[in-house]
Symmetry: C2
Subunit: 329 residues, 2 copies
């Protein structure tokens, strides 16, 4: 079969139309219809995945699809929203044959099932450049229950879900074998690479924190950088205890007591964990929610007056932050 044997309409009919939810009108209309339940608001976000920037040429298309979807679901979760629908655009070079598209759509199909979301629209085009994809995700939140970045107050605890820094270590292994990472047990190496390849957005935790968290953001640029965004939007500061950072067994085995390496984990991207500020009275309920969801949620510091993010080392002294996070530019 040649590169674009099915053509644009053929690919839509064969691979994408089966993914369509009711509002998608079988992908046969000019636009999608989205209902909003009385008392709810919709929450909308969009992210890109560009070959050579967000993923590599040889990456499995199903993982590319899932990661793009999950990054968007993480943004919705960070607002406390439950995901519902998404729209997709693809700009594909001739080198992307039907098989690439088939595998890409298969990844979406699996994640649609897993997260309970459906495709409702999109657009496809050819390009002379790298593969360029965008995904617009739509979720819902009870009106007023959305969790913004701007609501944190001095005295709030700072919490983070899951573990931090795994994806960055996984990327190091994938890129170069990873200095110092070669001595890790292969199960640890696999775990770290897995976290980079396929984030797990906290779609269940996010909505549960409505009415509890004062402010929330997802960790995509790096914990310190994203906490910085939350501080800036909330008009306050934060102090984090570096030793309180939740690490996976694999990451802990790698960093040991090397605090410079801990700092690296706190300033690396792609975690897709939820970072939030909540009043100390909420500790019990947050722990209970974490227990119900069988998920780690860790208090790592406190919001304070002022501005910026301070890190404290194991001796209680400030750790200078040399790199706030990761940027595309």
């Amino acid at each position: 079969m040649t590169a674009a044997a099915l053509g644009e309409f053929g690919r839509i009919a064969r691979y994408f139309a089966p993914l369509a939810g009711p509002g998608g009108l079988a992908l046969k209309d000019d636009a999608a219809l989205v209902e909003c339940r009385p008392g709810y608001r919709l929450v909308v976000t969009v992210d890109q995945a560009v070959e050579g920037v967000h993923f590599l040429t040889g990456d499995p298309p199903d993982l590319v699809a899932k990661k793009l979807l999950r990054r968007n679901l993480s943004d919705l979760a960070a607002m406390g929203a439950t995901p519902l629908h998404y729209l997709l655009t693809t700009a594909l070079p001739q080198s992307c044959g039907d098989d690439w598209v088939r595998r890409f759509a298969a990844g979406l199909a699996q994640d649609q099932q897993h997260y309970g979301v459906r495709l409702i629209g999109g657009d496809s085009t050819s390009t002379v450049g790298p593969v360029a994809l965008t995904l617009t995700a739509i979720g819902e939140v009870p009106g007023g229950a959305e969790i913004r970045r701007s609501g944190a107050r001095p005295g709030d605890d700072v919490w983070v879900s899951g573990t931090i820094g795994d994806a960055s270590l996984g990327l190091k292994i994938l890129r170069s074998g990873g200095d110092g990472l070669t001595t890790l047990a292969s199960a640890h190496r696999e775990a770290l690479m897995g976290r980079f390849r396929l984030p797990e957005p906290r779609t269940e935790l996010g909505p549960r924190l409505a009415g509890i968290a004062h402010a929330m953001i997802d960790v995509s640029d790096g914990l310190v950088a994203d906490l910085g965004h939350l501080c800036e939007n909330s008009g306050c500061a934060a102090t984090i205890d570096l030793p309180a950072l939740p690490l996976s067994a694999a990451a802990a085995a790698f960093v040991g007591a090397n605090w410079a390496a801990w700092l690296d984990l706190a300033t690396s991207g792609d975690d897709y964990e939820l970072l939030f500020a909540a009043p100390s009275e909420a500790r019990t309920v947050i722990k209970a929610i974490a227990g119900e969801l069988a998920m780690r949620v860790t208090a790592i510091g406190v919001m304070t007056a002022g501005q910026g993010v301070r890190l404290r080392g194991e001796d209680g002294r400030d750790v200078p932050v040399t790199r706030a996070g990761w940027r595309h530019f």
Copy 2:
């Protein structure tokens, strides 16, 4: 100033944040909030503009921005929706400096004012490829008043707004001077090029046709191709009278009585007019709406049983259609 002197966050703050509507949360949060009025549905669509496919490298950035926005607004209009918000993604090569972004955003600012829409979110990244842009547009429609492609019935009149084929002639002039177009008056040439550069989506007409039109689509692939989509979705056929096609003075001066040239206009893209089917009882009200909006709306044929699009020439005989429309692939 160097190419990306402001950086990603600087560009967002300087050029895009001023465009943000209330639901956009100053472009400082993980996602946008979209309200939906009781009794309404939201209508969502997304389109791309890729350098080398949808526009040329030297095209003025403000026009690139406006055309992308307007193509999306045309899709909303084709559903009978009133536009409200949009999200934007940009994948820009290093060669796109801050000035390109400034001019791009200036185009959006003008059209936001003109169409009453506001930016509420987006994403920006670098790319090693051509400029790749997407725009997700969100509108509203009273629940049940949306106009689909699938509601046309045999006996309905087929109508089209504005004039057909101008954009394709404008493109010919821009590309090559245009065979046979060189003899046109310069005002005509300007008018045709203007129609290609900057479509005028029928955002006022679309919502006015709710409850009147049985089915609607916007003409982007070409009148015959798009009418074909409408027929396919409605499970019926259409017959169009080629001499009834509404032409601008400029297009009429070019085609004269050359029916092959008329056919070209009916099978060319980028018109962004509204093509709709409505029962014959609606003729008076459609004419009245057109009068109120000071807009040409022309009956060009009829829906019939069967499938496919037939074209009738001035002698009433069938005109064979050799090229249904324009495709990206």
